[in-house]
Symmetry: C2
Subunit: 208 residues, 2 copies
Amino acid sequence: MMKSKAKPAAKTRIQSENQDLILKAALDVFSTYGYRGATVDQIAAKCGLSKPNLLYYFRRKEDIYTAVLEHTLTEWLIPLRMLDVTNDPITELTNYISTKLEMSHRNPAASRLFANEVLHGAPHIRKFLNGPLKDLVEAKAAVIQTWIEAKKIKPVDPQHFIFSIWAVTQHYADFAVQVEAIMGPKPDRLKTQTAVLEILLNGLKISP
Amino acid sequence: MMKSKAKPAAKTRIQSENQDLILKAALDVFSTYGYRGATVDQIAAKCGLSKPNLLYYFRRKEDIYTAVLEHTLTEWLIPLRMLDVTNDPITELTNYISTKLEMSHRNPAASRLFANEVLHGAPHIRKFLNGPLKDLVEAKAAVIQTWIEAKKIKPVDPQHFIFSIWAVTQHYADFAVQVEAIMGPKPDRLKTQTAVLEILLNGLKISP
DNA sequence: TTCATTCTTGATCAAATGGTCAAGACACGA
DNA sequence: TCGTGTCTTGACCATTTGATCAAGAATGAA
């Protein structure tokens, strides 16, 4: 007898459990080895499923990659969305930068997955970059511009300022190996946060 | 009759010409597709040599990669080495940041090659990071520290400041696709330079 | 020109890898 | 317990790809 549920493929318990397992393992493997460097066998081994079983849930390797990438992207922009023009800019930006640093520390794999994708020309997320991302950045650049016109912060190019925040905060995830080679293992997170906030907000020129 | 030259393998004209061709093509291909993503066939095709011929000059794929990576690393640190404690800090740092931006623009492939290597755990250049790079950064951090103690610049953590410069400048090469998706193609280089210098040197807090 | 050395490549191999399939094991509502 | 649909997998396939090799072509010093 046909299952009563219609097309929209309701998930069984086993389905959601295993898809979750797969996505977790895939994030790990893809972020470490890149898309081409990762193998389906690796992902399968990491989550304790057989390769054919994994390909039962995601028909192609690329489907796994796309799924884990999209899952990552949605969370990635939440902090930026929260930038609120009605609040104090220094408070808001301090909070945004701190949150980004925190995210990079808590989930460096996600940061690296995204970095790797963009580094190689963003073949899977071009539309995301040109659409939702561009729109969001323009909206938030407008927020920063508002603060500038209210003379609450110095006149800096808002878009480039957003790029700088991304660059610096994600650097601590994407280039962690380099950072640790230079600073020693487990660099002091508080020091890092203080330094990054100091640099991005205050610069280093002695005030005239 | 034996060639008069001894072991140290003197290069013939053809050798240096072809090795040069190969390294140029390899930089392109490796930086675009990553180590695992790049194929020997691609590199061979790009420089117009047959695959066996390419493997006549570099026995293994990894040898090509190592060669092009080392070739890149040596040039990469030249600007930082030039940071001179006896000069004016703002002049020196402005110059360093501008040069790094310039390099990222002129040779984004080199930046991406390096980024990709570090992103994936720097398996081929661990020793370089722990040795020469660490030493150089410590030396130049000391230079910045000297400027701080002379009250010529604000007290920022020198190492984190160097990281920030790297992060922001290389961002424009490594994440070029993203930058162009948001700012449109061919972003104004002068505007970028002005903004980056403004952010890293001045910050955006209104002076008290 | 001679000829030892260097350079070049078509053919080929073995391993890795994405993906398929049919058959069987299991879950769970009736 | 039964039976249908879901889940699992060993075996297998086709392609890609790094690497080899033997044989031939080009080079250039004497």
